[in-house]
């Protein structure tokens, strides 16, 4: 048992970290050629993301949508479908949540309005994802294609609504006509961490409580005003729920079974098309939730759709895979990528390194990390031949199941 644990550590932690390191090495070469000291640049990156209260808060704020989108992607992958449409699903979710918040936020108590907003966002995202699932299950339309198309359609729908029925009346009055919605009533703001701390009666900063150093910064993230909102707690709870759902319920088991082997599931009497629609709908729901939480917790109004989705739909895929498609793996994975993006921006500001360099490095990290899966598999194969009884069960969050699913399509 002990040995297996250490194997897992090497597989899931050491290899990815080595890959990240390698990517940074490449980045360092590029930085040197730009006349920038790589050590200085990278240290600004790390401290920018994790070193201070604000950096940490920004990292966690960014981790929220990444985590939720990543959870949805993981459900889809586990169910044997590829969801590239999280961008569109997030936008649709954010739109519907905004509409609910603006229309009903005034009449309802805040908590109920927030819950309604979250449910509405999830439903809208679910419908948007469900379309792709339905098209795949019933009409054999490839989901990669339909989700790509639906992304583009969602963006235009958002612009259409934000220019017309949903535009902020103040914009019309001022004549500027910027396509964004009115601000949601303040009662619908998801409480920030500092609000929660105040509710608990904790008000003092780290200095007053007498916690110094880095721990003090962490304490301040939780207590002092920052943009960090309760959406983070919500996302973590969701991750745990998805874990329970996938591994402890019949429907979850069915989704994973269909993902692992569509043929066998069919012979076992499962309704495969329905399960596909379900996986895609659930996947869309989580992207929609991400949109809802972004609106209620952070932006408090809907604006330019691509600025709200902000590439989370794509980064979320990477987060999901980096987390080995395991809901609990996605939590640290989303924080890591949130930090990478926040730190990359910090590096841009500190060193005036073009932001696109971070994009290139992230690309390299992805390429190297997915390459290490091969080495992990080799190790596992070697272990398997050594101890034949520890066969891979569906519980093993080792490698994505998508490959075998595609074969039976």
């Amino acid at each position: 048992m002990n040995r297996r644990w250490s194997d897992r550590l090497i597989d899931n932690l050491l290899y990815p970290l080595a890959a990240v390191l390698l990517a940074f090495l490449f980045g360092a070469v590029i930085l040197l050629l730009q006349g920038v000291n790589p050590l200085e640049a990278y240290s600004s990156m790390v401290t920018g993301a994790f070193g201070s209260k604000n950096g940490l808060a920004d990292t966690l704020v960014k981790a929220v949508p990444l985590m939720l989108v990543g959870l949805g992607i993981a459900i889809a992958f586990r169910g044997g479908v590829i969801n590239i449409g999280a961008e569109g699903q997030l936008i649709v979710g954010a739109l519907f949540t905004t509409w609910i918040g603006v229309q009903l936020g005034e009449q309802l108590p805040g908590a109920i309005a927030i819950i309604l907003g979250l449910v509405g966002g999830a439903l809208a995202g679910g419908v948007w994802g469900g379309i792709s699932g339905y098209l795949k299950a019933k009409m054999d339309v490839n989901e990669i294609l339909s989700t790509v198309m639906l992304n583009a359609i969602a963006i235009q729908i958002a612009f259409l609504l934000l220019r017309g029925p949903m535009i902020d009346p103040a914009e019309l009055a001022a004549g500027t006509n910027i396509p964004h919605s009115a601000r949601l009533p303040k009662t619908t703001d998801m409480p920030r961490f500092t609000d929660l701390a105040q509710m608990l009666g904790i008000t003092g900063g780290a200095d007053e409580v007498g916690i110094g150093g880095y721990l003090g910064e962490i304490y301040n993230v939780l207590v002092q005003p920052s943009r960090l909102h309760s959406g983070f707690i919500f996302a973590v709870i969701m991750a745990i729920l998805v874990y329970i759902f996938l591994w402890r319920t019949t429907i979850g088991y069915r989704i994973r079974a269909v993902g692992l082997n569509r043929h066998a599931s069919r012979y076992a009497g499962m309704n495969v098309p329905r399960t596909i629609v379900l996986s895609m709908t659930l996947s869309g729901m989580f992207a929609g939730l991400a949109g809802a939480v972004e609106i209620l917790g952070l932006h408090h109004r809907m604006f330019e759709p691509t600025a709200v989705s902000a590439g989370y739909g794509f980064t979320g895929i990477v987060v999901a895979l980096f987390g080995k498609l395991h809901p609990l793996g996605i939590i640290p994975s989303s924080i890591l990528f949130g930090g990478l993006l926040v730190g990359g921006d910090k590096m841009q500001r500190a060193m005036q390194v073009p932001q696109v360099l971070t994009v290139a490095i992230v690309g390299l990290i992805i390429l190297f990390v997915v390459s290490t899966d091969y080495l992990v598999r080799r190790r596992q194969n070697r272990r398997l031949s050594a101890e034949p009884d520890s066969l891979t069960t569906p519980d093993e969050p080792a490698s994505p199941s998508i490959t075998s699913a595609e074969v039976s399509a």
Binding site: M139, D140, I157, I317, A360, P400, I402, T403, A409
Partner: protein
């Protein structure tokens, strides 16, 4: 309105534009067809196109030689393809994800190189539209109707369409094509008769990426004659989708590309003619119609059975 514009002129305009706009989609999607036929989903087309667009533009603006520029696009396409192949074939990486990695790498690198090597948006003289002049006074482009549609395109547009029969021939009539198809369909069987699965896949991915490089160049040195950061703006992803749309056959891909580009042209004309449609709705049109067209059950896609499935002898 538009009294001088006859219906025929508009239809001709739409067809002409549909053909021209199909060029980048066609290069990229045909390249992706080779790749997918061999069993490798290359989602990084967009990134390769950006690199191809940048390098061809850079060489063109430095040397003024467009053919050299095209060569640069091919070389960078080959290199990016090699990278993709190493990661996806040798290291058996999850292909959808490695593709996104390659895209981000291409996006970042092309923008970074643009910033350091060129610095600001400038224009160049690219491939111009051919006229096919038989004599001094008579050009094929002057033929009414046909001339306008078929004989006034850039050489890269003709190249793109010429590539369709070439691709069919390569895939269907050559031993190499047979190998590519067999490793995409049943790698174990191909391996058992002595075909090197990974070599065939390397070749297909690299060829596909070289074509993606040309696709990028077709924008930066032929259709637009400028380079701008992130200028491909999703064409590469739509090209991947078109391969599914075309049922993995070059001819199907061509029809897909033409359909998509023609509907795009149609919506532009709809706006120009002042039809009473919101611009947002008309921009949506190509995407909606593509989904609808896909849902019509006229053909069942023949997806390569081993698509996205890495091959390793004896281990699986």
């Amino acid at each position: 309105m538009n009294g001088e514009l006859t219906t025929i002129a508009i239809i001709l305009g739409i067809i002409h534009q549909g053909i021209r706009l199909a060029t980048p989609y066609l290069f990229a999607a045909l390249g992706e067809t080779f790749s997918q036929r061999s069993g490798v989903l290359n989602l990084g087309v967009e990134g390769i196109m950006l690199m191809g667009a940048f390098f061809s533009f850079y060489v063109a603006s430095e040397t003024g030689n467009l053919w050299l520029a095209l060569l640069a696009a091919i070389i960078i396409g080959v290199l990016m393809g090699l990278f993709m192949a190493v990661v996806s074939i040798t290291f058996q990486a999850e292909q959808g994800i490695s593709g996104i990695g390659l895209y981000l790498f291409g996006l970042g690198m092309s923008s970074l190189l643009f910033k350091t090597m060129i610095g600001s948006v400038t224009g160049i003289t690219g491939f111009s539209e051919l006229q096919f002049c038989v004599t001094d006074s008579f050009c094929l482009a002057d033929i009414p109707v046909l001339g306008e549609i078929f004989f006034s395109h850039s050489i890269l547009t003709y190249g793109a369409f010429l590539l369709v029969p070439i691709s069919v021939w390569l895939l269907k009539r050559t031993t190499w094509g047979l190998k590519v198809r067999s490793v995409g369909q049943n790698p174990e069987a191909a391996d058992s008769v002595g075909v090197s699965v990974n070599r065939a896949r390397y070749a297909a991915v690299i060829l596909g990426s070289a074509l993606a490089g040309i696709a990028g160049a077709s924008l930066s040195i032929s259709l637009l004659n400028v380079f701008q950061e992130n200028m491909i703006n999703g064409i590469g992803f739509i090209a991947v989708a078109l391969v599914y749309f075309g049922g993995w056959s070059p001819v199907g891909v061509m029809f897909g590309a033409l359909l998509f580009s023609t509907i795009s042209a149609l919506q532009l004309w709809g706006q120009v003619l002042g039809l009473n449609i919101s611009s947002n709705i008309s921009v949506m049109l190509p995407y909606i119609l593509t989904i609808v067209a896909l849902a019509i059950p006229f053909r069942r896609a023949a997806q390569p059975a081993a698509l996205t499935k890495p091959f390793s002898r004896g281990e699986n």
